[in-house]
């Protein structure tokens, strides 16, 4: 229903208020999408963009999880990192895109760095929050029954953090994906962002919109996928809320 209204308004604005050159109608863009799909190399562009996002994300996890862990466990580290992490989280994506461009110029490292930088604060903050919320009573239960620190880490700490970490991943993924494409628009010779710029330089608004729509579709698809994984991982929570 929401979609029908969206396409209706789009068609109306395109045909009546603006013109076909400024804003091509849905049909034209749809044909453009078909064209791109038929061309065949679109999958490569998406694959490249996704793998760059993924690698940036890995970097963010590798840095963000330990930082979040330290922040959640010790007041000292919380104070040490707090302003930096919150500050970093408030910087707009475009700044990271520019920083990445300045450092790496046109190349594949730029988008990866930008994704890493933008995602890290979200992940760190969520992990910290999860750790602070760990139920101390469960930890003392674990000690009373003679369980080791490693067992407590695996069965209590990590499961407590997981929902928060996952929320951090989902939230930052949407942002990371946008920053990745943004960085590609400026400084890349492949990927979805690059294709958008390429279409723009060829004065093909339909091309820009076609790529953008495909980009949105993929983002939604991945979101849905993550939501399904999340529901499965945290199936115990449905019961908790019901009780």
């Amino acid at each position: 229903m929401g979609w029908a209204a969206f396409f209706g308004i789009w068609a109306f604005v395109s045909a009546v208020i603006l013109d076909e050159f400024t804003l091509p109608g849905p049909l034209k863009v749809w044909n453009e999408i078909l064209e791109i799909v038929r061309g065949g190399s679109w999958a490569d562009d998406f694959l490249i963009s996704i793998s760059k996002t993924f690698m940036g994300f890995m970097i963010a996890l590798i840095v963000g999880v330990p930082v979040g862990y330290m922040m959640g466990r010790a007041g000292y580290w919380k104070a040490f990192f707090h302003d930096g992490v919150v500050g970093a989280g408030s910087i707009p994506g475009i700044v990271y895109a520019i920083i990445a461009l300045v450092i790496f110029g046109i190349g594949f490292q730029g988008p990866i760095l930008a994704v890493g930088l933008i995602s890290m604060p979200f992940i760190a903050l969520n992990v910290a929050e999860g750790l602070e919320g760990v139920d101390r009573d469960l930890l003392s239960m674990s000690t009373a029954f003679g369980r080791s620190d490693r067992q407590a880490l695996r069965h209590i700490l990590i499961p407590s953090i997981m929902p928060f970490a996952f929320a951090g991943v989902r939230l930052s993924f949407a942002i990371a994906w946008k920053v990745e494409a943004l960085t590609e628009v400026f400084g890349s010779s492949n990927g979805v962002g690059f294709q958008i710029r390429f279409a723009f330089q060829g004065f093909s608004i339909a091309g820009v919109l076609a790529w953008t729509l495909m980009f949105i579709a993929l983002l939604l698809l991945i979101e849905r996928g993550l939501a399904i994984v999340e529901r499965w991982l945290f199936r115990w929570r449905t019961w908790e809320q019901a009780a």
Binding site: T143, F145, H155, I156, W236, W239
Partner: protein
């Protein structure tokens, strides 16, 4: 045979607020218990009962004094039933039981099943704690504590969150399980009737964490609250509570 020995135990917590005084949860407690006894620890709220159990279980450490728990000279194995069930919400009932088990997988499962059966939860292996009622969760907590074959079983007001009917039936189950296993049990409660019903010995703590009274109860099991001797015992202990309160007010005034 399990032996718990507490000597000149004190526990002081850091002040709750910046310029507050340190909290003396336990001032001076000494007692010993050993063998097949069910000992109840009763006393007013805040007199340090939970603190004492936490020190015995190693969750907390004494400020001064010593606590030793031994089983025939070796380090004893402990079971702990908490006031709330303290189950891992992200693990099923069976997984919660296995978390505290040191047995090989198969044996652990069989053992856990046995104790779940005993508390009437043979059907609930694959349920999550959130799917169980409070009483059922508490049963899992009890099964968990028994399942490790503890030399010393600690119980901290295990029935106080439950309604009277559920508490009563769990109390009876506990009695049956204790008769079957004859563990050494240290049981904390507010409820004098509960203490008289279950225990061989009742230790009363006073405000500020000192031992006020130590009584042996000789009535045969199973004990019925309607039995006049039961009522007499209960009245006597309650009488001591009153004396304790009177002394306290007198000391204050």
């Amino acid at each position: 045979m399990a032996t718990l020995q507490i000597e000149k135990l004190t526990k002081t917590f850091p002040p709750h607020s910046k310029d507050g005084r340190p909290v003396r949860a336990i001032q001076d407690i000494s007692f010993a218990m050993s063998g097949q006894v069910f000992v109840s620890l009763v006393g007013p709220s805040g007199c340090g009962k939970s603190t004492l159990l936490n020190i015995v279980s190693g969750v907390d450490s004494p400020s001064t004094g010593t606590v030793t728990v031994t089983q025939d000279g070796k380090k004893a194995r402990l079971g702990y039933v908490f006031q709330d069930s303290r189950l891992l919400p992200w693990r099923t009932v069976m997984q919660n039981m296995l978390y505290v088990s040191d047995l090989p997988e198969e044996e652990g499962r069989a053992n856990a099943s046995k104790y779940l059966e005993m508390v009437g939860l043979g059907h609930a292996h694959d349920m999550y704690p959130g799917q169980l009622s409070g009483g059922m969760q508490q049963r899992v907590g009890i099964a968990r504590a028994f399942s490790v074959s503890p030399d010393l079983l600690l119980m901290d007001e295990p029935f106080s969150h439950l309604d009277a009917i559920t508490a009563r039936s769990l109390r009876e189950e506990l009695q049956v399980m204790w008769n079957a296993t004859k563990k050494t049990v240290l049981f904390v409660t507010h409820d004098v009737m509960e203490a008289v019903q279950l225990s061989n010995r009742i230790i009363t703590l006073a405000h500020g964490g000192t031992v006020f009274d130590d009584t042996t109860i000789e009535l045969p099991f199973p004990r019925k609250a309607s039995d006049p001797e039961f009522a007499a015992q209960q009245a006597e202990i309650l009488g001591r509570f009153e004396t304790m309160e009177l002394e306290r007010t007198a000391a204050k005034g």
